[in-house]
């Protein structure tokens, strides 16, 4: 039997276990909230992560370029992980957890799992997803830093402008015959 068929049949359970492992990277108190509260507004972190994982598992079982499509699916989850107490490897590492979950869930039915060609295909897809995860994580961190820099720059620049200390280019007319500085 094809590995992907088995995963598809057990998709609900595999997803649940994967979500479980990801949410277990938080404290037990947080796990209770993130895992069990279904209101997405009272539990935005848990809801976002669970929804993200669901989309990613669908993606792995479907056709097409995983790495490219994973970027969109990962964005919301990575935004969350990027501002929490995780090292980069721990923030992204949850994507690899799927391998362990699948091993656990299908290992007994498919002996020598790691030697099967369809495992290798799945393995590569998960690796591609993780690489996309790292890109998205870095983008989130860079966005964070960009916002930090912009905040400081806007504040000081606008203060100077209001104090009439600067005359910026926006005050110079676009018309080439207009007033220009030579």
């Amino acid at each position: 039997m094809d590995l992907f068929d088995i995963i598809e049949k057990r998709q609900g359970r595999i997803l649940d276990k994967w979500q479980d492992r990801v949410l277990s990277t938080y404290s037990p108190d947080a796990y209770r909230l993130f895992k069990h509260k279904n209101d997405p507004f009272a539990n935005p972190v848990g809801s976002t992560l669970k929804k993200g994982l669901e989309g990613l598992l669908d993606l792995l079982l479907g056709e097409g370029d995983v790495r490219e499509k994973a970027v969109d699916l990962l964005e919301d989850s990575m935004k969350v992980r990027a501002v929490q107490d995780f090292s980069p490897s721990n923030a992204v590492g949850f994507l690899f957890e799927l391998k362990g979950v699948i091993r656990e869930q299908v290992g007994k039915d498919l002996p020598n799992l790691e030697e099967r060609p369809d495992w290798s295909a799945l393995d590569s897809k998960i690796d591609a997803m993780a690489l996309a995860g790292f890109d998205v994580f870095m983008e989130c961190r860079e966005r964070l830093n960009r916002i930090r820099v912009n905040e400081v720059r806007n504040l000081s620049y606008k203060a100077m402008k209001r104090a009439n200390l600067v005359c910026d280019l926006s005050e110079i007319p676009d018309d080439p015959d207009g007033e220009t500085v030579n």
């Binding site: 492992r21 277990s24 990277t25 938080y26 404290s27 037990p28 108190d29 947080a30 796990y31 909230l33 993130f34 509260k37 209101d39 997405p40 507004f41 009272a42 539990n43 935005p44 972190v45 976002t48 935004k79 969350v80 501002v83 929490q84 107490d85 957890e97 362990g100 091993r103 656990e104 290992g107 799992l113 790691e114 966005r143 964070l144 916002i147 930090r148 912009n150 905040e151 400081v152 806007n154 504040l155 606008k158 203060a159 209001r162 104090a163 009439n164």
Partner: protein, 539 residues
């Protein structure tokens, strides 16, 4: 290599839950992005706060005074006797957990010490050790522990990871106000000079120059004059505000953020336009360049400092001889006015009960404090059909309203801003139940935490709020969050930039300023941000 790969069963048997220690045995980690810089000696010394010194939270040695433990325990003892609420909050909690998952910092981070019940336990555990027989005898078994340096550092970390928003208190069956516990926790830390710079410097500035930013009177006037020019550019009408005018009927005080920081500045222009509109109808109002701050970071420092800074507003009202005060769109200023002012500096008998000169409405709700919120004033004008306006000028804004914690939970101001927005705008969508009104989620940056260095803390704390905005953004195309708080106006734009790009932030009176039809105005083609009005894009 192949031999080194673990077997399937071995891999499956790995426990992926990190090892956990009890909370008392887990020391606080102070790391960049998560803490605010420490208060320096100078701002503390200027206002006479004790033990001012330069110190660094990530250094091991905080250069504490030798008798620091004695100072803290004496401070706690003193406060337990002075504040019956504190004694009650220390004793009455049954750890039911109703508050546990209500804090935006816990919801966003999963850090258990951000659960309000546990944040309070940080202090309560020391209280038990010092004041209860069980705690003295049984210690850790009954949740008691001795105060030591590690505990102190944990207090500093987590009492500055609370925005005093009081969402948790809404859910507490005993009415424990965890914000009050944070307030006392910070007071105790302040006895040792352990404030943060983002609070201590504004306090010191406000004490010296009248506002958080240290803007001096002439510069404050310059900034308002700048807005006068901008308003003229947009409307063709030159407004003429007055400053420090003795004998005016009303004193207007707003947070300095409205004067200094975008997008609050557009709200300030809205105030100017409204006041100009009402001038011919009998409004007699003045700004003050001395009481040039509605905010009160003393509230985040100590009761005494809050009282001192609050008094400046009332002293200026007395000096100018006004009848009452209208306050601008500020957050915590209103909690101070509504819940503390009357017993700190009140009743303000030198002033009169506010009465609208336009409608004759008497604001009995402010009979003692003599200070009303500008949205109360404007909502009353609208209710009496006193304003001519064109709401299509706000048609580019698809709005939602963020209830700021202090006006909503701290004074019950829920309807007035909504009423104004609905009158002034055609497109308004509420965020989901449980995220608005009394249950509103904090911006994540209140109570002096809106510094630049703790952006990660702010973004995780603001996540539940942003998540609800994201919902109305995706469902209704909401592109603007309106609010009545200057800290929100400073904190929400970067928060939106991260979580919901494409959503901007506006004050309610910015919308009023856009819509009001002024006598003698030119054809309006732009809003106060110099953006083309709907339908004017090509002109």
């Amino acid at each position: 290599m192949a031999d080194e790969v673990p077997k399937v069963e071995e891999m499956a048997a790995i426990n992926h839950t990190p090892p956990k220690t009890g909370w008392m045995d887990t020391p606080a980690v102070i790391r960049p992005g998560m803490y605010c810089y420490s208060a320096k000696a100078k701002p503390l010394n200027i206002v006479g706060m004790p033990n001012g010194r330069d110190w660094d939270p990530i250094e091991e040695d905080w250069h504490l005074p030798e008798n620091w433990m004695e100072i803290v325990l004496e401070g706690l003892h003193d406060r337990l006797h002075r504040f019956r609420s504190l004694q009650l909050f220390m004793d009455v909690c049954v750890r039911c957990g109703a508050c546990a998952d209500k804090c935006h910092f816990f919801i966003g981070s999963g850090d258990p010490k951000n659960m309000p019940v546990l944040r309070a336990e940080l202090l309560r555990s020391v209280y038990r050790k010092e004041y209860t027989l069980a705690g003295k005898l049984l210690g850790k078994m009954v949740g008691a522990r001795k105060l030591d340096e590690r505990v102190l550092k944990e207090w500093w970390t987590y009492f500055f990871q609370c925005t005093e928003c009081r969402r948790c208190s809404v859910f507490c069956p005993y009415g424990i106000d965890t914000a009050e516990i944070t307030i006392i926790g910070r007071e105790l830390l302040n006895l040792l000079g352990l404030n943060i710079d983002w609070i201590a410097t504004p306090v010191s500035n406000c004490y010296r120059t009248g506002n958080h930013l240290g803007i001096q009177p002439h510069a404050f006037k310059d900034m308002i004059d700048f807005f006068v020019d901008e308003v003229e550019d947009v409307t063709g009408v030159r407004v003429n505000p007055s400053f420090n005018r003795k004998g005016a009927e009303i004193l207007f005080i707003t947070p300095s953020g409205d004067v200094f920081a975008d997008p609050g500045t557009y709200t300030a222009m809205g105030y100017l336009i409204l006041f100009h509109y009402l001038e011919s109808m009998g409004l007699d109002i003045t700004w003050s360049t001395y009481a040039s701050e509605g905010g009160n970071f003393g509230f985040f420092t100590s009761h005494e400092m809050m009282k001192r800074l609050n008094a400046k507003m009332y002293m200026e009202a007395k000096r100018l001889g006004v009848k009452y005060i209208i306050g601008g769109e500020c957050g915590h200023m209103w909690r101070v006015i509504h819940q503390y002012m009357d017993t700190m500096n009140g009743p303000a008998d030198h002033l009169e009960v506010p009465k609208s000169p336009i409608t004759g409405t008497v604001f009995q709700n402010a009979a003692s404090t003599k200070m009303i919120h500008i949205t109360e004033f404007t909502a009353d004008l609208l209710r009496h059909n006193k304003l001519k306006f064109d709401k299509t000028r706000n048609d580019n804004y698809n709005l939602t309203f963020h209830d700021s914690c202090n006006p909503s939970r701290g004074m019950g101001l829920l309807e007035e801003p909504r009423y104004i927005i609905k009158e002034m705008c055609n497109h308004f969508y509420e965020m989901p139940e449980g995220t608005i009104r009394e249950q509103t989620f904090c911006c994540g940056s209140g109570s002096g935490l809106n510094a630049g260095e703790d952006l990660e803390l702010r973004f995780r704390g603001g996540m539940p709020r942003a998540n609800a905005v994201k919902h109305v953004h995706e469902k209704h195309g909401v592109n603007t969050v309106a609010c009545v708080c200057a800290i929100d106006r400073a904190a929400l734009p970067p928060l939106m930039d991260y979580w919901v790009p494409g959503v901007q932030v506006a004050g309610v009176h910015e919308l009023v300023g856009n819509a009001l039809i002024l006598d003698g105005e030119k054809e309006r083609t732009e809003d106060l941000r110099f953006e083309p009005l709907a339908g004017m894009e090509e002109e």
